[in-house]
């Protein structure tokens, strides 16, 4: 049974896709009588099937070599495109995580989208996302990974733009699409440039090629820079990070998926490409630099946010930055572990805050407070999510960070410093959000705040359980790093940094001795962080401005010069006709004159050879 399911595991993306398609008929314009709810239920069933299928197939992959399926897609002169699928425990495991998280997010959405009519659109897009992500994990070809990433970019545009009657949603969907698109286009350049070098797009073949490749370092540097630009946009890394902040305008259930999984799709490609990327030391250090910048910058910005969702979105950028560092230092396993633990913890955090938003309406953390006694489930979920994300043993995030840090300890100790700093800052920001929402006294907006209905708390609790059990699961699969090989100093440092960040934050925000809202002594710094380093302004002043000016200039050239030249031809003909008609002036004598003139000139031309020379000699 398990073997059969394993052989047909490529069906998993199809289930989700079918679910997405089946949801469409319940759009308000098609089935007008039943309401939109069946769309959600159908999708839920299909996702459940996908999850069960992948989950049963997973044990059969254990300790088995990955096997590959190659389906011919297109064969033209000299180019054979194969849809390469790799079925390994990593890919099936990732599908379990994706389908599972999507299942929980969809159950959550049944509660959250209670008062919404747009279920068909919402659920079909969720199905599309699940299908795309599952296909991405199976896909073993760089080319088809790119294809799927582009589909997901379009999906992001549609999903963020779900409630398109709000103006901020429209601008954020636009930014999400364009920013990711720019990254994807650079990725396409890299994808196209690596083919002549390696002659293949198959990840395994690329890794083999990279092991022995002798390539010009400049060339390889450029290709690899293009290859990391795609994941940079996908993973919301500096400077392509604004879209994730703005994408928080979308509905929260989709945010669950985005924060945990969609953003990680870039990281997945990055991890798969690691053998190629390590060919260029320049690119490795660039990745470390980008990751460091994003991790530190993102965690600092997260501290200064007041929007409950944006606090979390910057942590996502931060953790993806850590994944960049891990891949940049050739630690694939740490990167994969980081993606997994981050996915569960981030989803739990978003679910918890979404539950708060649903009943408290405001997203402003400064207007919330004192919810702990009345919202214990959400609060507990938030705490576990936080602890699962930052380095707190024995939860998952600790092991991932520890693995990364011990790998860096010998070679690049300063990166361990960065890691510790990021951990302190993230611990601080998440605890701050917790204290502001759940701690303190109730404010006007959170005066009466009941706990959410079971559709929203059930997936939260299930995910809470998964987050708690993650270390056990990892241990049973012997995926946890061996304690003996790990650096205990680093472990202690991590624990202490977590304790430090959390305690400082709770003392500041729960204690009464600092007036709230907290003002930094240096106001511009606080604003700088709160406004995300003024990134929108930076975009508008640089890229947007130049493209805008250039397009206006081109438009002007087109209207004035190109159109003008063609119109000038017409105008000249019209003017010529208008002017030359006056040669027909009605005077018979003038006609006689022109006839004689013509005859005379023709005669002169014809007889020129008999007298022309003498005439010219005579004259000159």
């Amino acid at each position: 049974m398990a073997q059969f399911l394993l052989e047909t595991v490529w069906l998993v993306p199809c289930y989700a896709l079918i679910g997405g398609l089946l949801a469409v008929p319940w759009s308000p314009g098609i089935i007008r009588r039943t309401g939109p709810r069946p769309a959600g239920y159908v999708n839920l069933i299909m996702t459940f099937l996908a999850f069960i299928h992948a989950a049963i197939a997973l044990p059969a992959t254990w300790n088995q070599p990955p096997y590959e399926i190659s389906i011919p897609w297109l064969s033209t002169a000299g180019l054979n495109l194969f849809i390469d699928l790799e079925i390994s425990s990593a890919s099936v495991g990732a599908m379990v995580v994706i389908a599972g998280l999507n299942l929980l997010a969809q159950i959550y959405a049944i509660g959250y989208m209670e008062m919404d009519w747009g279920w068909a659109r919402f659920y079909s897009l969720l199905g599309l996302f699940e299908a795309g992500l599952c296909a991405l994990t199976l896909c073993n070809s760089l080319f088809f990974s790119y294809v799927i990433l582009e589909m997901l970019t379009l999906g992001t545009y549609l999903l963020v733009g779900l409630w398109f009657s709000q103006s901020l949603v429209v601008t954020s969907a636009r930014d999400a699409f364009l920013t990711k698109r720019v990254g994807d286009l650079f990725l396409l350049m890299g994808v196209l440039a690596i083919f002549p070098l390696a002659g293949t797009w198959n990840y395994s073949a690329l890794a083999e090629w990279a092991a022995t490749a002798q390539v010009d370092p400049t060339l390889m540097g450029l290709v690899c820079l293009a290859l990391i630009a795609g994941p940079m946009g996908k993973c919301a890394q500096f400077p392509l990070h604004l879209w994730l902040d703005e994408a928080m305008e979308g509905p929260i259930p989709s945010t669950i998926l985005r924060n945990s999984v969609v953003v990680a799709s870039g990281a997945w490609v990055l991890i798969k490409l690691q053998p190629v990327l390590s060919l260029s030391p320049l690119v490795s250090s660039a990745m470390v630099a980008i990751g460091t910048l994003t991790a530190v910058g993102g965690s600092l910005i997260a501290i200064a946010q007041i929007d409950i969702k944006r606090c979390l979105s910057y942590s996502v950028s931060t953790y993806m930055g850590l994944v960049f560092i891990a891949v940049g230092t050739q630690q694939d396993d740490a990167a994969l572990l980081l993606v997994l633990t981050h996915a569960l913890a981030a989803a739990l955090l978003v679910m918890s805050t979404g539950a708060i938003v649903w009943n408290s309406i405001t997203q402003d953390v400064t207007q919330l407070g004192g919810l702990w006694t009345r919202r214990p489930v959400s609060g507990l979920a938030y705490i576990i999510g936080t602890l699962g994300l930052i380095g707190f043993p024995p939860l998952g995030g600790f092991w991932a960070l520890l693995k990364l840090a011990s790998g860096l300890w010998e070679t690049q100790p300063w990166l361990v410093g960065i890691l510790i700093t990021v951990n302190v800052l993230t611990a601080f920001s998440l605890t701050r959000e917790f204290c502001l929402i759940f701690g303190g006294k109730p404010k006007q907006m959170s005066e009466r705040s009941p706990e959410v209905s079971w559709q929203m708390s059930l997936p939260m609790i299930i995910l809470l359980g998964f987050t708690l059990h993650l270390p056990l699961v990892l241990q049973s699969f012997s995926l946890l790093p061996n304690w003996a090989n790990l650096n205990k100093d680093v472990a202690l440092l991590l624990i202490w940094s977590t304790v430090f960040g959390c305690s400082i934050s709770s003392v500041i925000y729960l204690g009464d001795f600092i007036p709230k809202p907290i003002r930094l002594p240096f106001k511009p710094l606080q604003n700088l962080l709160a406004y995300d380093f003024y990134t929108p302004k930076l975009y508008r002043m640089s890229i947007v401005l130049s493209v805008d000016l250039m397009s206006k200039f081109t438009d002007m050239i087109d209207r004035l010069v190109v159109d003008g030249i063609v119109n000038m031809v017409g105008l000249a003909s019209v003017g010529g006709g208008e002017g030359l008609k006056y040669s027909t002036n009605g005077q018979t004598q003038f006609y006689a004159f022109t006839i004689l003139l013509g005859v005379g000139l023709l005669g002169m031309v014809v007889t020129w050879q008999y007298w022309g020379e003498q005439f010219l000699n005579l004259m000159f």
């Binding site: 008609k581 006056y582 027909t584 002036n585 009605g586 005077q587 018979t588 004598q589 003038f590 006689a592 004159f593 004689l596």
Partner: protein, 101 residues
């Protein structure tokens, strides 16, 4: 006496005729200028006949025809001028510019 002088005289007469044809405002003077042109032609014909074809003198025969046809043409021309004059009460060539653009 050479042929060239006759030809030059005829050409001069032709040119004067052209000048009169193009410049006259009176329609009758235009007809008169046409007569000058025809006479210049006649001079040519006579000169060629005399110097180049003095035995068969075909040019002189031509000249007789030209004179005849010129008389007929002048008669028709004057009739046309009269017909126009009846309608428009003038023989000024510059008033006859109705067929323009």
């Amino acid at each position: 006496m050479q042929l060239q002088y006759f030809l030059l005289l005829a050409a001069a007469l032709f040119c004067i005729g052209i000048y009169g044809l193009v410049n006259s405002r009176n329609a009758v003077r235009v007809l008169m200028s046409i007569e000058l042109l025809l006479n210049a032609v006649n001079l040519n014909l006579m000169a060629f006949s005399n110097y180049l074809d003095s035995t068969l003198i075909k040019g002189q025969v031509f000249t007789v025809f030209v004179i005849t046809v010129a008389a007929a043409e002048a008669a028709v021309g004057l009739a046309i001028v009269l017909a126009i004059y009846r309608n428009r009460d003038t023989v000024d060539m510059e008033q006859f510019n109705l067929l323009k653009w």
